[in-house]
């Protein structure tokens, strides 16, 4: 990174900075050269940081009032809702915050998929991001168990039972996870402990994610390497900070809409019924953000096969940088891949939809087609299209969209103006 050496102005600042270069770090963060053509899809990194901090702060307050015991958990949540000052607000921010977190992370991931941000030299950023995503799913799942309602209990039962599909040791592992012979008080206790731990692991990974980002610098909508700093870049502060702030505020308006006006619309009404091991709900469904994977799980007639495919659906993303054979990063210049990208988006949405439906009839057929296509997208489409596709001409720099030879001016202008 070609940056001028930062020297603090004050003597005290210099003294401190020589011993711990925090001020240098601060200067690096504010000066950090950022491509000037980043569009609003790039604001979700900041939004996600906000989501994580919101979840941690509200979560710590909730933990002060919550009781992790099978007999008391449900009542303690009602205590938070009724007797704790602004407890209803804190809890609704936390529960809706989880959904908003996933909404933002999905946009962030699909942004990366469209613009090829996972490609060299950013593979490590991508992989750390996926680890964060995996931890997020674990944290969200365990958090959903804590109110100890019917969906908490039965969701926990279904998901932990997946591990019993492992040959030979499956049942032992499941019992070990439960800490009992069924989902019970010990399960609730450990889920609470882990639910409190995971966000801090995520926080650590976020630091690594940003660190890894600051080595090559941001990708951008055009997907080309740029010189930093140059006339293609702007300093992070104030240009990107103000833009991120604006996007964050728009996001917060939507967030507040959920919290204040429809706080339970994203949850399931059954979770306001206290957990009852003797009564199974008619349909056990996970939260919306896990539905595509739930659809993949149920599309396979064999339990172990379903579990393998479900985890495979996530783990295949880890090797994505090596499955994509294209030399061009951004889908803006990849006319064929771009079509497949949108088909893939629709496929994932469809999987999410059938995940909420009973696994029978047409839904099962759709789930199977969707699952096959999901994997085909990564295993067949990405390597093959990358090799065969004739990409559009890529501009030399962000500031000079006029291309050398055979350029399509309208496209170049569109990229420069709109993205």
């Amino acid at each position: 990174m070609s940056e001028h050496e930062y020297v603090p102005k004050s003597k005290a600042g210099k003294w401190f900075n020589d011993r711990l270069p925090l001020l240098t770090l601060g200067a690096h963060l504010t000066d950090y050269p950022t491509p000037k053509n980043l569009n609003y899809w790039w604001t979700f990194g900041g939004i996600l940081t906000f989501c994580l901090i919101t979840q941690i702060v509200t979560g710590i307050v909730l933990a002060m009032h919550y009781v992790a015991h099978a007999d008391l958990a449900f009542a303690s949540v009602e205590h938070i809702m009724r007797d704790v000052n602004y407890g209803w607000l804190i809890r609704y921010i936390h529960s809706n915050g989880a959904s908003m977190f996933f909404l933002a992370v999905y946009i962030h991931i699909f942004r990366s998929l469209f613009y090829g941000s996972y490609k060299s030299p950013r593979e490590v950023i991508w992989i750390i991001g996926l680890m964060i995503y995996l931890l997020m799913m674990a944290a969200a799942f365990m958090g959903y168990v804590l109110p100890w309602g019917q969906m908490s209990f039965w969701g926990a039962t279904v998901i932990t039972n997946l591990f019993s599909a492992i040959p030979l040791v499956g049942d032992s592992i499941t019992t070990w996870l439960w800490g009992a012979y069924s989902v019970d008080n010990p399960t609730l206790n450990r889920f609470f402990s882990l639910h409190y731990l995971i966000p801090f692991l995520i926080l650590g990974l976020v630091v690594l994610h940003i660190w890894a980002l600051h080595v090559p610098g941001n990708n951008n909508p055009v997907g080309i390497d740029i010189k930093k700093p140059s006339k293609d870049t702007v300093p992070f502060h104030p240009y990107i900070t103000i833009k991120d702030a604006f996007a964050l505020l728009v996001f917060m308006i939507i967030f507040a809409g959920f919290v204040f006006f429809t706080p339970n619309v994203l949850g399931h009404s059954d979770n306001y019924i206290p957990a009852n091991p003797l009564v199974t709900p008619a349909h056990i469904v996970p939260e919306w953000y896990l539905l595509p994977f739930y659809a993949i799980l149920r599309s396979v007639p064999d339990k172990l096969g379903g579990v393998i495919l479900m985890f495979g659906a996530i783990f295949i993303l880890f090797v994505l940088p090596w499955l994509d054979t294209s030399k061009v990063r951004s889908a803006v210049f990849r006319p064929i891949y771009r079509q497949f990208y949108w088909i893939f988006v629709i496929d994932v949405l469809m999987l999410g939809y059938v995940g909420a439906m009973p696994a029978e009839g047409i839904y099962l057929v759709l789930a199977r087609v969707g699952t096959i296509y999901y994997f085909a997208h990564f295993i067949i489409v990405m390597p093959v299209v990358g090799l065969l596709e004739k990409t559009d001409p890529v501009p030399m720099s962000i500031s000079e969209p006029v291309l050398s030879g055979g350029a399509e001016p309208s496209l170049a202008r569109k990229v420069n103006d709109k993205v």
Binding site: K36, N37, A75, E78, H79, M81, R82, W88, L89, Y92, V234, P238, Y239, I242, K243, A245, F246, L249, V250, M252, I253, A256, G257, V259, F260, F261, P263, N264, S269, D270, Y272, I273, P274, A282, V332, W342, V345, I346, L349, M350, Y353, A356, M357, S399, K414, D417, K418, V419
Partner: protein
Amino acid sequence: MIKFNTKLLFLSFLLLISLRPLQSAEMIDPIKVDWSFKGLTGTFDRASLQRGFQVYKEVCASCHSMQYLSYRNLGEPGGPEFSEQEVKFIAASFEIEDGPDSQGEMFTRPGKPSDKFKSPYPNTQAAIAANGGAYPPDMSVLVKARKGGANYIYSVLVGYEDPPPGVTLDDGVYYNKYMAGNKIKMPNNLMDGLVEYADGTESTVDQMAKDVTTFLAWAAEPELEERHRTGVKVIIYLILLTTLVYLSMKKIWSRVDTEV
């Protein structure tokens, strides 16, 4: 690209709206009531809450507990808002078990506003045994615990009918067109003129069902009025701040040749 995104949004929107009717295909939709607490600025009808409490106390409370509510809640802002004297009087009309005292004995005393609502049965098993094997659910969060919310509760209360020909019911089972599976173990407890409203309102079945549902909606979401009020303020504040930040952003970015 912009075009693609609009398409995508439209598609996901279509998916979302098609999701709803499919999920509830097995039940007929509950009656839609124009509740005063609906909408962004909805508030509870105070008189209806007080009447609803009366219906709860005189009819529902003999089987249904409301264990997460305290008598003091009845006097709090955003609820039925009974006066302090009324709340004390209501609480004192219940005999609450307390103790142990210094001799180790349990004793009963008149209720205080800080006491939780007295449950009709000592435990779940006793409630099930006394109700033909069906547990009368605790009503503290019942409105939030049922798909369809207040509309559903109201519909069930007014949805009792003679079973259609061909449907036979066991003893102690009743036919209700809004209940999932149409079979309910709670008898139709509401009949015209059942309670005598203090404010002179005519106690028709429909009126009592609406009042008690309003009361249950408040019990499930006692923060609703404050939530709506705060929400409106928060959204207005955020919109103003967003506008200011947007203008600042435009100003700052005017220094470079790129649009934001």
